[in-house]
Assembly symmetry: C2
Homo-oligomer: 138 residues x 2
DNA sequence: GTAGAGTCTCCTCATGGCAGGAGAGTCAAG
DNA sequence: CTTGACTCTCCTGCCATGAGGAGACTCTAC
């Protein structure tokens, strides 16, 4: 027998202390729907369940893997629907690998161009009023 | 003999047309000091010299090489002081190469971590209420 | 009952490089 | 002289992820 309407739970400061995250961040996550509170105290204070800690760990982990909060929200939505989110997470992480590959490719290309320019760089070329920097031809 | 105080020059729309850049961008550049106008018309319209085109080419080129507008401003300040900016540009581009190297390094490391995770990924692992996604251990 | 800590909502700011629009003034052609 | 295109300044918004603070309220310990 559990008292009906009985809401226990951590206040935001306690969750901040235990998770190591700033109160501001927790409020922000709650606003985004990443971290639902189980309710409010009579005075309007957010109350969080123990599971919130696990949830924040999950969020932190996916953040370090480069997912956006929105993508993480998608994963959590699946979890909250009662399903295992592993499949969705796998998809998101796969996309992330592709994004990274694209970025590395762009960066390599840019690096190559820069190196090419710097390889033939003349610190003190003939002055040419038609261009600002002769090494760049512009 | 040139008439004193005589200011000719393009208006911003003409410069936009010839450079291919939006009027908004040109105004923004002028505000930042990247693209000085030679003056204003009686009605307050910005007037630009022919050299503005060359200057915009220079800006465009350095932008594609990944420099920020602020860094480009530094280069142009050297040029405007009457010196050849090649040395400064060389320094900036060298820094840019280092930045890129750092980014590539980070991206590779992240990619490696992602690949490691995905390599051992189980789409349908045993359910475990203690964690949201067993593959991540969180 | 009172002090002090905690929490609430709401607002602004930060980054970088502009885009969109309001409202007013200017310029060139007919 | 009028009309329509151009330009002016100033304000706001965008992208993401919060940080910082004001002013008001709540809770807890003494």
């Amino acid at each position: 027998m559990v008292a009906v309407g009985m809401k226990t739970g951590m206040k935001i400061g306690a969750l901040a202390g235990r998770s190591g995250l700033p109160v501001k961040t927790l409020r922000y996550y709650e606003d985004l729907g990443l971290l639902p509170a189980i309710g409010r105290s009579e005075g309007g204070y957010r109350l969080f369940a123990e599971e919130s800690l696990q949830r924040l760990e999950f969020i932190r982990r996916l953040k370090t893997l480069g997912l956006s909060l929105e993508e993480i929200l998608d994963c959590l939505a699946v979890h909250d629907a009662g399903e295992l989110p592993c499949g969705d997470i796998q998809v998101q992480l796969g996309r992330q690998v592709e994004r990274i590959d694209g970025q590395i490719k762009e960066l390599r290309q840019l690096r190559k161009e820069l190196q090419g320019l710097l390889a033939g760089w003349q610190s003190d070329p003939a002055k040419d009023d038609a261009v600002i920097c002769p090494n760049l031809h512009v």
